[in-house]
Amino acid sequence: MHTIELINALPAVFAGREPVPSQVWQCPLKLQRGKRYLIVAESGTGKSSMCSYIYGYRRDYSGTIAFDGTDIATLGVPQWCQVRQTAIAYLPQEMRLFGELTALENVQLKNRLTAHKTDDEILDLFARLGIADKVLTPVARLSIGQQQRVAIIRTLCQRTDFFLLDEPVSHLDQANNSIVAGLFAAEAHRQGAAIVVTSVGNHLNLDYDEQLKM
């Protein structure tokens, strides 16, 4: 997948409101493979909604969203599964980990599906993010910052054209922020993928090609 386009898109709940100046809603927006985007948003401006539209699990918007020129409203379930396994790597703000599984099992649940990384590579990621000792701990018993790092590792475990990261470092300190930025930059470089990051304040420490205001 090379482009994600938003053409006059607007969340249904915003319909009828006074138009607010935005570089995302009600205007043409084209995200391209290989580039880095930072979408800066205030709370309540529809940042997570945008992610859920692009990731295909909500459809309460007007306008058009297209992958490589194809309206995503026409995609069927099998195509979406394909997109989620090979084209868009999504890190939801609420992380959506499974509390009763261990940190490693949470990552493996994705990696067994995509067969993207070896067990050693996964353990190396745990080590680099400073949670090697938490590998076998159920996620429910991890701190929120540790959970965010597990979710980040899981997001890295797939082939992709776009990393779609919804507030990826909201619970991390600057040191970990930089480590995470380095991991995503390296993985994106290896795959030629784009990185699309949303943020309400704590930006992921990357050099961005484009900064958009939501």
């Binding site: 859920s52 990731y55 699990y57 909500r58 459809r59 379930v77 099998p78 599964c81 989620r84 396994q85 999504y90 939801p92 959506r96 499974f98 009763e100 599984l101 099992e105 493996q108 649940l109 994705k110 067994r112 599906l113 995509t114 797939q158």
Partner: protein, 399 residues
């Protein structure tokens, strides 16, 4: 550790063993009732059906009542031509056949091989018109140039031999299938002739309490050995439209006729067997259906409780089919277990009742019809649940 195992570890949460066992038991009871009823029907039905393919259905054997007084006064038990004509004129009557008797002496020898043990007896023959008999033409004819005499005997005679004679004399018991191999010889005498001819039993009847030979033979033999005086028949065979008709009973009672054979009784019993079996099967199917809904509700509840897990898995890129798989496998496993247990129950129950009906010497019905129906019901229930699971999971796609 495959992702199937991880999925199972995740999705087994909230599975209620109590609900599963409840479904399993309910379905087991329902399914066992259904297949047991089918099997019992198949095992017992031959008692009532008397499938005597060589005698047409819907006929009655009619005799005149022999009362003490009538016999003493030399009252005839023969049917006059006018009486026969009257029966023929009744609306329920299709056709009347006369029993004709042999008018010469017959001596039968049943030899049992080279051992020299044989049974001798005076004998008699009767005949009825060939139209009433359905043995394939080749078997039910007589050709004086190639004499071999086919006979149909009362089933009681075989029982008499097996249970009375063979048991006390140390002779082997004979099944109906083996009867055709018994060497049988008839000796006829009359008109100064004494001749011997081989015979062969081609069938048994539980309704014709006599020995029947082909009409051709009777005509030929009566001419050859008999005295020549034709007697009126003492028994009639009557083909009727419906053997259960009350008008027939009324007519027979009015004219002091007796209807031999238990065709009417047997067909009523057979009818009730069918009705009772149908009721039992319906009860079993209803229980199975209720069990099906119990399982479906239980699974819906499970899916409801696990909604968030299922949605999160779909977000990871799992397809609805992959996410449904653990539940589909669960339903299949429970279904297979129920089916196996029900068939086991069937075999045990059958072992308990078979000795009770053994005395009827019925052919063994196979288990496959019951097992087939049980499998079909289980397959339908399982398929219904799998479709329900798939739909429910597919409905979680949009969040």
């Amino acid at each position: 550790m495959s992702h199937d195992f991880l999925l199972w570890k995740l999705l087994r949460t909230n599975i209620s063993p109590v609900q599963l066992i409840g479904f399993g038991l309910a379905n087991l009871v329902g399914l066992t009732i259904v297949i047991l009823a089918i099997q019992f029907y198949r095992d017992v039905q031959p008692v009532f059906s008397d499938d005597e393919s060589f005698i047409r259905k819907d006929y009655l054997v009619v005799t005149r009542s022999v009362t003490g007084a009538g016999a003493m006064m030399g009252g005839s038990s023969e049917f006059a031509d006018s009486a026969i004509a009257d029966i023929e004129a009744q609306p329920w009557c299709r056709k009347v056949g006369r029993f004709a008797s042999s008018e010469f002496a017959i001596y039968a020898t049943v030899g049992l091989g080279e051992s020299g043990r044989a049974m001798h007896s005076q004998f008699f023959f009767e005949t009825i018109p060939t139209d009433f008999i359905d043995v394939a033409d080749a078997d039910w004819t007589f050709d004086p140039s190639r004499p071999e005499l086919p006979v149909i005997v009362a089933r009681d005679y075989l029982s008499l031999y097996n249970f009375g004679f063979a048991a006390t004399q140390g002779l082997p018991r004979i099944s109906e299938g083996q009867v055709g191999m018994i060497p049988l010889q008839f000796t006829f005498s009359g008109n100064g002739l004494t001749e011997t001819m081989p015979g062969r039993i081609v069938g048994f009847s539980s309704r014709l309490n006599t020995v029947i030979v082909p009409e051709e033979f009777m005509r030929w033999a009566n001419e050859r050995y008999g005295s020549g005086n034709q007697r009126q028949p003492m028994r009639l065979i009557v083909e009727v439209n419906s053997p259960g008709d009350v008008k027939i009973d009324q007519y027979m009672a009015d004219h002091h006729y007796e209807v031999a054979g238990d065709k009417a009784q047997s067909s009523k019993a057979s009818y009730f067997l069918t009705v009772i079996t149908s009721i039992v099967i319906v009860v079993g199917v209803v229980i199975s259906l209720l069990a099906f809904f119990v399982l479906m509700l239980s699974i819906f509840l499970l899916l409801q409780k696990n909604t968030q897990r299922l949605r999160d898995l779909l977000l990871l890129g799992y397809s609805p089919a992959q996410v449904s798989r653990p539940y589909v496998l669960l339903v299949l496993a429970v279904g297979a277990a129920v089916l196996v247990l029900a068939v086991g129950g069937l075999v045990l129950a059958r072992r308990a009742y078979l000795p009770m009906i053994e005395a009827f010497q019925l052919p063994q019905a196979s288990l496959w019809a019951a097992i087939g129906v049980g499998t079909a019901i289980m397959a339908l229930i399982t398929a219904g649940n799998i479709i329900a699971i798939r739909r429910k999971v597919a409905a979680l796609w949009l969040q």
